[in-house]
């Protein structure tokens, strides 16, 4: 019995090492970088004309009226403006400075030029904007923040980047790329499973009312679906389909045969959100995350000897699941 348990533990241990350390191509993470930076740049473009209304001291919600003051130690424009005020820098200039730094860092991130520095600046400035505009944020801002945090420590600039072009980094498979990909995949599993479970606790997601109520909202709905009241089974099927896609994600993305189907279903779900609810930036960002996590091959295809990494039995692990 002890031997059996020992063997089982050894097998589990080897499986775990393969899962988190088998060298993987950095391309999926490069896709994450490009997708996230691209979407956030487009989003920044649509917000640029309303900077002061959204984030300014005399915006729609003035800083002194912010319902939740940012905790100490969290970057925010209000704090930066107080720091720069003795230098004669106005609050509006502080807003411009943060936003310009954010956009510039996103451009650098998109190109993969000085990627790590760009990721740090983008992450901190996005956090400052998010914290200052706390009363106006929605899901896309949370995911942007998470994705930029991952860009800081994952090897997102090791492929399809100027840094790679300039020979600063190598696009050889690494264990860190594998770990980064696993973290992204597991994070998305938590996201979808918890989202599905929370939805399933509400009656609206069982009787179809959730789809009806979301698309019929005048501020969200992009098309008239009032006819759906006469085809209630369709609303119900869409709700149930959403629950299946979200709660099934954690089980279905690991096997090659079901991964593609789930990627298509999940991307379809977000494309639907973008088109029918007009939440294009949220939909596009989630699609970018899923493309990186599920669609870009991470499997090592080079000869096994090329995958040897210090401390990792690359040859044995090279064929590991993507």
């Amino acid at each position: 019995m002890n031997t059996l348990a020992k063997r089982l533990l050894q097998k589990l241990g080897r499986g775990f090492v393969t899962f988190v350390a088998a060298p993987a191509s950095p391309r999926p993470l490069a896709a994450l970088r490009i997708g996230v930076a691209g979407v956030l740049l487009l989003q920044a473009f649509t917000l640029a004309g309303h900077l002061f209304e959204l984030f300014g001291n005399r915006g729609v919600i003035q800083w002194q009226a912010l319902p939740f003051q940012p905790p100490e130690g969290i970057p925010n424009i209000n704090g930066l403006a107080r720091l720069l005020a003795p230098l004669g820098v106005s609050a509006d200039t502080s807003v411009r400075l943060v936003f310009f730094s954010y956009v510039a860092s996103l451009v650098m991130l998109l190109l993969g030029w000085q990627t790590r520095v760009a990721a740090v600046v983008a992450w901190l400035t996005q956090m400052a904007l998010k914290t200052t505009g706390e009363h106006t944020i929605y899901g896309v801002d949370e995911f942007a923040h998470i994705a930029l945090f991952y860009c800081v420590w994952m090897p997102v600039g090791f492929a399809w980047s100027l840094d790679r072009q300039n020979g600063k980094v190598s696009d050889e498979p690494t264990a860190l790329a594998r770990l980064g990909l696993r973290v992204l995949q597991l994070h998305l599993c938590v996201v979808y499973f918890s989202s599905g479970v929370e939805k399933a606790t509400g009656e609206q997601w069982w009787n179809g009312e959730a789809i009806w109520r979301s698309v019929m909202r005048l501020d969200l709905g992009m098309v008239d679906i009032s006819w759906m009241a006469n085809v209630q089974w369709l609303a119900m099927a869409l709700c149930w389909g959403t629950l299946v896609v979200e709660m099934g994600y954690v089980f279905m993305i690991w096997h090659r045969r079901t991964r593609l189907a789930w990627a298509v279903a999940t991307i379809g779900l977000h494309a639907g959100i973008a088109v029918f609810l007009g939440l294009w930036s949220f939909g596009a960002l989630m699609i970018a995350l899923n493309v990186a996590a599920l669609c870009v091959p991470a499997t090592v295809t080079k000869p096994a000897v090329a995958t040897e990494r210090k401390g990792v039995k690359g040859a044995a692990l090279a064929g590991a699941a993507a």
Binding site: V17, V20, A21, T46, G49, H50, E53, R58, G59, V60, I61, Q62, A65, P67, P71, G73, I74, M127, G133, H135, T136, I137, Y138, G139, E142, I146, F149, L176, R182, V183, L186, H187, V190, V191, Y192, S194, S195, E198, K199, T201, G202, E203, Q204, W205, E209, A210, W212, R217, L218, D219, L220, S226, N230, Q232, A235, G278, W280, S281, G311, V312
Partner: protein
């Protein structure tokens, strides 16, 4: 695995545990101690404090804020906070308005701020009347029986220019 990769893996595992706690709305430690506060800040930086209950357990009602402006001669006109904005900016402003449904106390802070925005935009206005309405949407069954969506006023407050 190398020692370095083992450390990275352990940190990643810790991060994912915190992510799962965030998703489950678990705070782990109250922020009223040094450790709790540090953890709260760390989770804020890493995004592991987020929860993901979008449109859950159900889709909330739409709310809108409208503004009636009145000048010294009694002339009246209306405006909105977000009418001139891009869709992405509109989503943000409307999200802020909808938060009033979640936290009614917010109007004490939002009301004067919105009024100040309107006075800034309309220098001749002497009074602004803020109206918050909620979009009452019938269920699909009610809709097929002929009920129609309607706006219901839930909050009205006038503000005078000081």
């Amino acid at each position: 695995m190398t020692l370095r990769h083992t450390i990275y893996t352990a940190l990643a595992a810790l991060h994912l545990i915190l992510v799962a706690c965030g998703a489950a709305h678990e705070m782990i430690l109250e922020p009223n101690t040094d450790t709790g506060y540090t953890l709260m800040v760390a989770r804020h930086y890493t995004g592991s404090d987020a929860s993901y209950g979008f449109f859950a357990p159900g889709v909330g009602p739409q709310m809108k804020a409208s503004f009636l402006l009145i000048d010294a001669h009694g002339k009246e006109w209306t405006d909105t906070l977000e009418g001139h904005m891009t869709r992405e900016a509109q989503l943000r402003i409307r999200g802020g308005v909808s938060r009033v449904a979640e936290f009614p106390g917010l109007m004490k802070k939002f009301g004067p701020s919105w009024a100040a925005t309107m006075f800034g935009r309309h220098p001749t206005a002497k009074t602004v009347v803020i109206t918050i309405e909620v979009y009452e949407l019938p269920t699909m069954d009610e809709y097929t029986r002929g009920e129609q969506p309607r706006w219901e006023t839930i909050y009205v407050e006038p503000f005078d220019r000081k």
